[in-house]
């Protein structure tokens, strides 16, 4: 698959939040305002990009040669947890300003389904190293797109009267449902029409 096809697939067609439901917890929790939504999105895109590569290297470099593929889940989550910690420390050292902006989101990312999800999907689909990186970045971008759209909608909703039972999370889910409906316009035929498959 070409890199553009991978990007389109994970940003639009298989958007991690609106189609695959991964990372819904932060999507609902951190989308109350625009600024934090962007922060979370950028931090996540960074981590998915790096961890996709790390997991790919560990899987094909360590687990496959020693026939230990059954340890995949344990090893991947450890790699991701260690990596997030490392990224946090590096950012703290290199750029305190960036740390101030992203720092609070980083610990949340270890338990974000998208990071582990994309690492496992990469292996299942048999992507090579660069395709892996592309899909990792695309997964993060898809999340960023969805969460920024969502935060804008929620800022608007806050200004309008909502029935008491629907306030907060329920109306957020219903808005997300309408967004998912719109995202159904993107399907596999998009790739076919662009001659990418």
């Amino acid at each position: 698959m070409s890199y553009i096809a991978i990007l389109l697939t994970y940003v639009f067609i298989n958007n991690f939040i609106l189609v695959q439901f991964m990372g819904l917890c932060p999507f609902i929790g951190v989308s109350k305002n625009n600024e934090t939504a962007i922060g979370m999105g950028v931090a996540l895109t960074f981590v998915t990009g790096v961890s996709s590569i790390a997991c790919w290297v560990v899987y094909y470099g360590l687990l496959m040669p020693f026939n230990l593929t059954y340890l995949r889940t344990v090893v991947f989550i450890l790699v991701i947890a260690a990596l997030v910690q490392l990224v946090e420390m590096i950012i703290k050292k290199m750029s305190p300003a960036l740390y101030k902006a992203l720092g609070i989101y980083l610990p949340l990312i270890t338990t974000n389904c998208i990071v582990l999800g994309i690492a496992i999907i990469n292996i299942d689909k048999g992507y090579n190293l660069l395709e892996c990186f592309a899909s990792g970045i695309a997964a993060g971008l898809g999340f960023t797109l969805a969460i920024i759209l969502m935060s804008n909608i929620r800022e608007k909703i806050d200004l309008n009267p909502v029935r008491k039972s629907f306030q907060g999370v329920p109306i957020a889910f219903i808005s997300a449902s309408l967004m998912a409906l719109a995202f159904m316009a993107f399907d596999k035929s998009l790739l076919a029409n662009l001659h990418l498959v």
Binding site: C25, R72, P170
Partner: protein, 207 residues
């Protein structure tokens, strides 16, 4: 041992509808009832055993590395479930797909380890895990039942003997509301159900 630790997970602190944890599998696998049951069984197993082990090891595990320790314990149980399901329930294993390894990062499990198991006795932790797991399974089955009945007009259960495992609902199966089995329907249903629970809670408080 306190029986309350068991019952609170079923309704009062239901992980899906009240605490709102572990949303990804809740919506991802609920297109068929049998998948919801499979996912629920996996979560009950992992949650109960990780709660027991973590509460048994709470004196040994150093505070500064407790999260990595919990994650390793949880991931280990998840891998066991993965392999056993692959071997003995292959159809459910295939249907759950990537959502099965994702149980590792299901916030319910790490959340219960951090909030309950590392403070309480082994017995209480086991009951807490069992109750929370059952509450999760119940909510999952409810969502799956609504989605499958409306979205496909069928109820898919485990095939036993001459029973093929699928109940077809006449009328609905010919003209199902297909959007319910897609992503948009799942999110809509979740919003409506959460609104319903908020309504119940508001009414209780008003009294």
């Amino acid at each position: 041992m306190n029986i309350k630790e068991f019952t609170k997970g079923l309704f009062k602190e239901n992980p899906t509808f009240i605490i709102m944890l572990g949303m990804c599998p809740t919506l991802g696998v609920t297109t068929q009832v049998v998948n919801a049951l499979g996912m629920g069984a996996a979560v009950i197993f992992v949650l109960t055993f990780s709660n027991i082990l973590i509460s048994a090891l709470k004196k040994i595990i150093p505070d500064c590395v407790r999260i990595p320790c919990y994650i390793v314990v949880i991931a280990c149980f998840v891998s066991i479930v993965e392999m056993v399901m692959h071997a003995y329930l292959p159809s459910v294993f295939n249907a759950l797909g990537v959502y099965l390894p994702l149980v590792v990062v299901n916030c319910i499990i790490l959340g219960r380890a951090e909030a309950f198991a590392n403070k309480n006795s082994v017995g209480d932790s086991a009951l807490d895990g069992l109750g929370m797991g059952l509450g999760f399974t119940m909510s999952l089955t409810l969502i799956a039942l609504i989605r499958e009945v409306i979205g496909a007009g069928t109820i898919t259960l485990i095939p036993i003997g001459s029973f093929s495992g699928t109940i077809t609902i006449p009328g609905l199966s010919a003209n199902p509301v297909r959007v319910m089995s897609l992503a948009a329907g799942a999110l809509l249903l979740m919003g409506l159900l959460k609104a319903f629970f908020q309504y119940l809670q508001n009414r209780k408080e008003a009294r």
